[in-house]
């Protein structure tokens, strides 16, 4: 409404507006990188679609026979893997949000400048210890004679989780709980960083204004802080859910065969069974389901700018 009082944005003269010849420069700049992505990312995806419809063996070669039954067989054999993948990933994402939000909030609003940097380093630093080593460390933490199982047993919580099906036999390792715990841990930084970026942009005076208007702290959070941080929530949930649903490392290292996820299936079909059509069909279904979910979710959440 009062745009005239605002400072004029810096005048941007598009470089290509002045010199039409420069448009070519853009294509030269794009060429190597885009070619790389087309050849090693897009073409393989299309190729995989074709592989999933082929039949044959490694010795005799594969032929495109439009064998759609591979999909039904794969779905039939791995339906529970899909169910587990998406439910573990959903629980892990919810946990990441619940655990990550307070930390992102603390970094953005409660920590002093010095502490803010220290905590941010601590959030990012685990990335630099191979995540396989860190996941293996959970084997020690959750081991049968370890402190976690001991504490849960003393509180009689393991009986409850046993009854719900999260754990079994009064142990945590080799149960769904261990896998979800590992997934949550592995992808937590991917939730915290976008949350922090969106929270950090919030003007603290908005909190004061809400307080002046007699909003209680929780109301301020619900009506002001959380809605503004929504783009961070959307980005964070996507960055956790997508890799978590395709993960097979946590299920392999912390779970038992009955916790295996789709990723384990793809890995087994590709590297051990050498049944490439089934592996291709499984990853095609996984990709389609995730892209579908992401599209619906982004429509609902109503944020387009992610890149």
């Amino acid at each position: 409404m009062t745009t005239t009082t605002e400072a004029a944005p810096p005048q941007v003269i598009p470089l290509d507006a002045t010199k039409p010849r420069r448009k070519l420069t853009a294509y030269w700049l794009l060429l190597p990188g885009i070619a790389w992505l087309v050849v090693f990312f897009a073409v393989p995806l299309v190729y995989q679609g074709s592989t999933s419809l082929q039949t044959g063996s490694l010795e005799q070669g594969f032929k495109l026979t439009w064998h759609v039954a591979t999909y039904w067989d794969a779905l039939d054999e791995y339906k529970w893997h899909f169910v587990r993948s998406f439910s573990y990933a959903a629980i892990a994402t919810a946990l990441c949000l619940a655990i990550g939000y307070p930390l992102a909030y603390t970094i953005a609003f409660k920590a002093s400048r010095r502490w803010r940097n220290v905590i941010l380093i601590l959030v990012i630093a685990p990335f630099f210890t191979s995540f396989l080593i860190r996941t293996l460390a959970w084997k020690t933490i959750l081991s049968d004679s370890g402190p976690v199982v001991g504490a849960l047993n003393t509180l009689h919580l393991l009986s409850i989780t046993d009854a719900v099906g999260l754990t079994s036999g009064h142990r945590v390792l080799a149960t769904p709980l261990a896998v979800v715990c590992g997934l949550t841990y592995n992808f937590l930084p991917f939730m915290i960083l976008p949350l922090y970026t969106s929270l950090e942009r919030i003007d603290p005076r908005l909190h004061e204004a809400a307080g002046d208007l007699y909003a209680r702290p929780f109301t301020t959070f619900r009506k002001v802080t959380f809605p503004i941080s929504l783009p961070g929530v959307v980005a964070g949930t996507l960055l956790t859910f997508i890799p978590a649903s395709g993960d097979y490392i946590n299920a392999q290292l912390l779970g038992s065969p009955s916790e295996q996820m789709v990723g384990n299936g793809i890995q087994k079909q590709f590297l051990n069974v050498l049944d490439y059509p089934t592996a291709a069909a499984l990853s095609f279904i996984l990709m389609a389901l995730i892209l579908g979910m992401v599209t619906v979710y982004m429509r609902k959440a109503g944020t387009e700018e992610l890149v």
Binding site: D16, Y27, F41, Q48, L103, A125, F128, L136, S143, I266
Partner: protein, 267 residues
Amino acid sequence: MSRVFKWIREHLVVLAGILALAYLVLPNLVVFAFSFNKPVGKFNYEWAQFSTDAWTNPCGVADMCGSLSLSLQIATLATIGATVLGTMVAFALARYRFRGRAATTALIFLPMAMPEVVMAASLGTLFLNMRIQFGFLTILIAHIMFCLSFVVTAVKARVMSMDPRLEQAAQDLYATPTQTFLKITLPLAAPGIAAGALLSFALSFDDFIITQFNSGPTTVTFPMFVWGASQRGIPVQVNVIGTAMFIAAVALTVAGQWIGNRRKARS
């Protein structure tokens, strides 16, 4: 007592934040502690006895340091490749309007929105069918592919936030396009390029899923070594490397910030 409750209620968010941080850092502490363990048997999951053997002899395990050096080589080359290609794409996206822009943006975004295992399996299938020998080259190609998007995102954000008037001023002062680029544009974009390169290095060095689908029998990277060891028996030296990497990363970050602060203070 009610005072204690009041204090807890007022600091609930911070307390939850500290707990979250503890959850994040705990495994690193375990890795550190167990690097001083002298385990009974082949696996290093239960505490037995204090020992500094692993630290005094970090390369005492067959093949481990070889895999470490392979990972460092691949990460360095992948970082260079992805940073050069990604920076070029980022400049094109940030600075030019051209046909096919939306498609380009989608192509950059998709690898980041795709589960790793899908990319891994599809690229592996392609190499397999083209009868390309799995090995160093296939791993490098795959790593450059998935690091590229992250570089583009980091550099593009930086270039978009740069004031174009600075470059226009340089040209008004009769700088040639090359001079403008080298003296103004590149230094201004450097933090974004550095962030993209660092991220690439970390992603490539730590990558397991894509590597597992695209490596040959003789090219065992460090994560692949750890994976194999987790099935056969884990040497304590793995924890030493993990801890050393953690310390080096923290030291580098702190040093980088310190230099940055000093530079800011001087100017």
